[in-house]
């Protein structure tokens, strides 16, 4: 009750300040009037009494604080150059840092929409013959589930694709069969409907949970639950819809989740499951890994004839997802910190400079009776005001910068499944930066305020130079040199990344992507059970496409260079050489291509020939074409054409040609051994090492004579005419594919470039501020020098000399830092050493040039000193 009265009385006094003051005046007047009337002297002084009364209550602190703020605002307004510079510099530092960090967070640190994502782990059986991550078998997984104690739940799923058809449309979707507890394990709550039950899983019920995207795309935003989908021709009922933010696994566009149906539920040799599990709270990954490995070792002993792996691989899902991002985070985090530091140092220098100029004013106020606490409070409220203004500017800068960068960022990250909403200013980041900036401005403000408040009146008033001490001058110069050093470090990083980008753009890719457009095709797996997929589907399609005006070549291939796709790594043997153990067998990337593949991509055939639809048929001898890397590794100094390679037990293929190497997986990675097989030999029971199944992962590539994007509608029409049930995915031009392959480097180089230039601007503002101040301080000295005969050029030279000294010192320290730190960037560099002397020299030159520019105005001001007026002032 009393706290309420405290508050309400104070609030009333605050809101009706006039009435409160009148009441106090009246009460004091009444007191002394009564005293006089009763003949007593009252024992005090009305003025003092009133002051004492007004000092009471919390509202008094508030109104004092506002008075301080008003005073601070007046001070800031009186010195607009200082205020504007400080606010701009801090705002730029904060805004740029917040933007950078928000982008990093959206792209690299994507928040996962799962409950306690740190408890999620991926588990795999490391079998030799399949990619490790999808190598677990159904019975093994069930044994892990029933025997462990460390996992709260264990779920599994597979990856596949399917065709969705309606009367008017055919599209390709990612179809992922999953165990019933997958969503419970992830901790994802459905946006609508329900997930399938364990019974529905056992019964292979025709039900599906679909993604939010598919609901939007296929049902035009209408509620999908209860509706029917025709999935590869089979009707399934939609029973649930996932939330829009859901992405699983990793960035895969999983559209349809169906109950998992294992073809061979009891076959431990059959791999193909992906496993995700949730640890019990408090259990470490290492502990769970050793428990499951022990269980797996037991299984391997029990089923010794199957040669099961004797351990499992287990990794944190979050780490697996962000694994590659960690060094990037370190580097960008460093850049964020550096920019912010430079801005703070710059403003610290400005504040110190300003405080030095106000020494006399503070001394005067101290002499007039202002207590140290009062002066401190006043200066602090000034800093606070500055900090708040800077915070507002920072927010504006961040909003504007991100607004400008947004479309570009989105185009870069959309493919990685970053939702558009995630690319926004992170309120937490901005808040934290704002708090840190406010704190640092107050701390910076405190240092001079403290020394300022301590100035003995006599010293402060008597000091004719009105400047600061030697120590402060040195501190300011140190700050500016430090800013220059840090800016040089950032510029070096940006320079190295730009050089990398340039080097990457110069890498000969080995193919020509000009005028080529590609898309993925999903062919229903059971459609070509009795006939050759090439004869029934691919040949008519390619023929129709070649007949189109504007098309010069068309091919089917399982992989398109630099595009994401399925790559099947396989072991093979070479006929006529000793048999090797499985682990030592040569390995290569296997792919399927149609005869026109080299023509579409402009890849030269170095030896022998490429495939020919007339010669290479399902019944002729199986043939293969290898790349030069494979020829060099496994057939050094000999002609591989005519040699035979074996796959598995009874399948062999004759090498009929060698094609040139192509940058296949990444621009900066040299190609490995590759083996092409011919789609013309694919058939249910053909001679080729693979059956029709290979073409489930087909890509179509078409070369045009002009802009390939113009061909897309005709390609669609041709596809529809040949096989209406085959759905094309999105179309990409090869130009886009290559740009995407360089996307990370482009992104990093441009981001760091923007930030390094901001840092340079901030550091130059600091340098300029210091020089301008020094020139103002040294006016008298310059006047005397000129009166004694020094020329204008000499005086300007003094300023340039100081600038050169500061820039030189900063650059030297910065170069040292760069030499020590750029190796952190090594993982992103290509074709340029981390300590590239040319980059360092260019950056140092840029800095020197800009430093010269920043000192130009102060030097000119110094040169224009009029000796007479300079000597007369003061």
């Amino acid at each position: 009750m009393s706290a309420w009265r405290q508050f309400s009385f104070g609030a009333r006094a605050l809101l009706r300040r006039g009435k409160a003051a009148r009441d106090t005046d009246d009460e004091v007047a009444a007191y002394f009037a009564e005293a006089r009337a009763s003949g007593a002297e009252g024992g005090g002084d009305p003025e003092r009494t009133r002051d004492q009364m007004r000092a009471y209550g919390w509202e008094n602190l508030v109104s004092n604080f506002f008075a301080d703020l008003r005073f601070g605002a007046r001070q800031l307004r009186r010195n607009p150059a200082f205020t504007l510079t400080a606010v701009l510099v801090l705002g730029l530092g904060m805004g740029v840092a917040a933007t950078l960090f928000s982008v990093v967070q959206a792209v690299l640190l994507r928040p996962l929409p799962y409950a306690h994502p740190e408890q999620l782990v991926t588990i795999a059986e490391p079998r030799g013959d399949a990619p490790a991550f999808w190598s677990s078998s159904h019975p093994d997984v069930l044994d892990w589930r029933s025997q462990n104690h460390d996992l709260a739940s264990l779920a599994f799923y597979g990856m596949g694709a399917a065709t969705l058809r309606s009367e008017s449309r055919t599209i390709m979707v990612g179809e992922y069969p999953a165990s019933a507890n997958l969503f419970a394990t992830l901790g994802v709550r459905l946006a609508a409907g329900r997930t399938f039950t364990a019974e529905e899983m056992t019964a292979h019920a025709p039900v599906a949970v679909i993604s939010h995207d598919l609901e939007q795309k296929w049902f035009a935003g209408q509620a999908a639950v209860g509706k029917t989908l025709r999935l590869d021709g089979k009707p399934v009922t939609v029973i649930g819809v996932l939330p829009g933010a859901m992405r699983f696994p990793y960035d895969q566009p999983a559209d349809v989740w169906t109950p998992y149906a294992t073809p061979n539920p009891d076959d431990r040799g059959e791999s193909g499951l992906l496993v995700i599990a949730r640890l019990r709270p408090g259990v470490s990954v290492a502990a769970a890994r050793s428990e499951l490995s022990a269980i797996q070792a037991g299984l391997a002993r029990r089923y010794g004839n199957l040669h099961l792996p004797e351990r499992v691989e287990m990794d944190s899902y979050v780490d697996a997802m962000r694994g590659g991002a960690r060094p990037a985070l370190g580097g960008l985090g460093l850049a964020v910190g550096l920019i912010w530091l430079i801005a703070c140092a710059s403003v610290a220098g400005l504040l110190l400079t300003r405080m030095a100029g106000r020494r006399r004013e503070l001394a005067v106020r101290a002499a007039l009776g202002a207590g140290r606490g009062r002066i401190l409070r006043q200066l602090l409220s000034e800093s606070l005001l500055l900090g708040v203004l800077a915070g507002g500017a920072g927010w504006l800068v961040a909003a504007m910068l991100l607004g400008t960068l947004r479309p570009w960022i989105l185009s870069h990250v959309a493919a990685r499944g970053v939702p558009a909403a995630a690319v926004s200013i992170n309120a937490g980041t901005l808040g934290a930066l704002f708090a840190a900036t406010l704190l640092s401005v107050i701390l910076i403000g405190l240092t001079p305020a403290w020394t300022g408040a301590r100035v003995p009146a006599a010293a402060g008033l008597g000091d004719r130079s009105s400047g600061a001490g030697r120590g402060q001058a040195r501190l300011r110069q140190g700050l500016v040199a430090g800013e220059i050093a840090l800016a040089l470090l950032l510029l070096t990083g940006a320079g190295l990344l730009l050089r990398t980008l340039y080097a990457l753009e110069q890498v000969p890719l080995g193919f020509s992507g000009t005028n080529v457009v590609t898309t993925r095709l999903h062919v229903q797996p059971d459609r070509y059970r009795t006939e050759s997929i090439y004869q029934a589907f691919e040949a008519p399609l390619l023929e129709r496409l070649r007949a189109l005006p504007g098309v010069t070549a068309a091919a089917i291939t399982s992989t398109v260079p630099l595009a994401q796709g399925v790559s099947i790594k396989g072991k093979f043997g070479i006929v006529g050489r000793p048999n090797l153990k499985a682990a030592e067998q040569p390995e290569g990337d296997m792919r399927y291509t149609s005869p026109d593949f080299p023509r579409v991509f402009g890849i030269p055939v170095e030896r022998g020939r490429f495939f020919d639809a007339g010669l290479d048929t399902p019944t002729s001898q199986a043939v293969a074409v290898i790349n030069e890397a494979m020829a060099a590794r496994y057939f050094p100094g000999q002609n591989p054409v005519g040699e035979q390679i074996t796959l598995g037990k009874n399948r062999a293929a004759t090498i009929i040609g060698v094609i040139a190497d192509v940058r296949e997986t990444a621009v900066d990675r040299p190609p490995g051994p590759e083996i092409h097989f011919s789609t013309t030999q694919l058939a249910p029971h053909g001679s080729a090492p693979f059956y029709n199944i290979g073409s489930q992962f087909a890509r179509l590539a078409v070369r045009g004579s002009g802009n390939p994007a113009a061909l897309i509608p005709e390609i669609r029409a041709a596809l529809h005419a040949v096989a209406p049930e085959v759905a094309p995915d999105e179309f990409d031009t090869m130009r886009q594919v290559v740009a995407d392959a360089l996307g990370d480097q482009t992104f990093a180089a441009r981001l760091l470039g923007i930030f390094a230039l901001s840092a340079l601007a901030i550091a130059l503002a600091g340098l300029y501020g210091l020089l301008a101040y020094t020139v103002a301080q040294r006016r008298r000295e310059f006047g005397i020098r000129m009166a004694l005969g020094a020329g204008r050029a000499e005086v300007a030279g003094l300023v340039f000399r100081q600038a050169a000294w500061l820039v030189g010192l900063g650059a030297a320290v910065g170069l040292g830092l760069a030499l020590a730190l750029t190796r952190l960037l090594a993982a992103w560099l290509y074709g340029v050493p981390a300590r590239d002397p040319y980059t360092l020299a260019a950056v140092a030159l840029l800095l020197a040039g800009c430093g010269l520019l920043a000192s130009w105005l102060p030097a000119r001001a110094a040169a224009r000193t009029e000796p007479v007026t300079a000597l007369r002032s003061e």
Partner: protein, 115 residues
């Protein structure tokens, strides 16, 4: 809360001003000077009250809910702020009186136990 920090010395024993005010108002409402005069009279001039401390203390006690205030005409036909003890104020007076008596008794014992 701020009264203790006053540098001006009054003859009132530090910390007893609240008690004196509450006690003085026990009978009937008084204005500021009335309280000062009553304290001086009753203490036979031993305690002199500083006006600044007194008026600040009155603000504080009013906010604590122990006093209510009202503007009225004084005997001299002036507008003056009259303070009146509330129920909470009476309770507080009892508490403070008890506390004071305990302290006085303790001090008296200490002074007697001379050795």
């Amino acid at each position: 809360m701020m009264a203790g920090m006053e540098p001006t010395s009054t003859d009132v024993i530090p910390g007893t001003l609240d008690l004196l005010i509450l006690k003085t108002l026990q009978l009937d409402p008084l204005h500021g000077f009335g309280i000062a005069r009553r304290v001086e009279q009753v203490s036979r001039g031993v305690f002199k009250v500083n006006p600044g401390s007194l008026l600040t203390a009155l603000q504080r006690l009013e906010r604590a809910g122990w006093l209510d205030a009202e503007w009225r005409q004084s005997e001299n036909a002036r507008r003056a702020k009259y303070y009146r003890l509330t129920r909470a104020g009476r309770k507080q007076l009892e508490l403070e009186t008890e506390g004071w008596e305990r302290r006085v008794a303790a001090i008296a014992r200490l002074l007697k136990a001379e050795n």
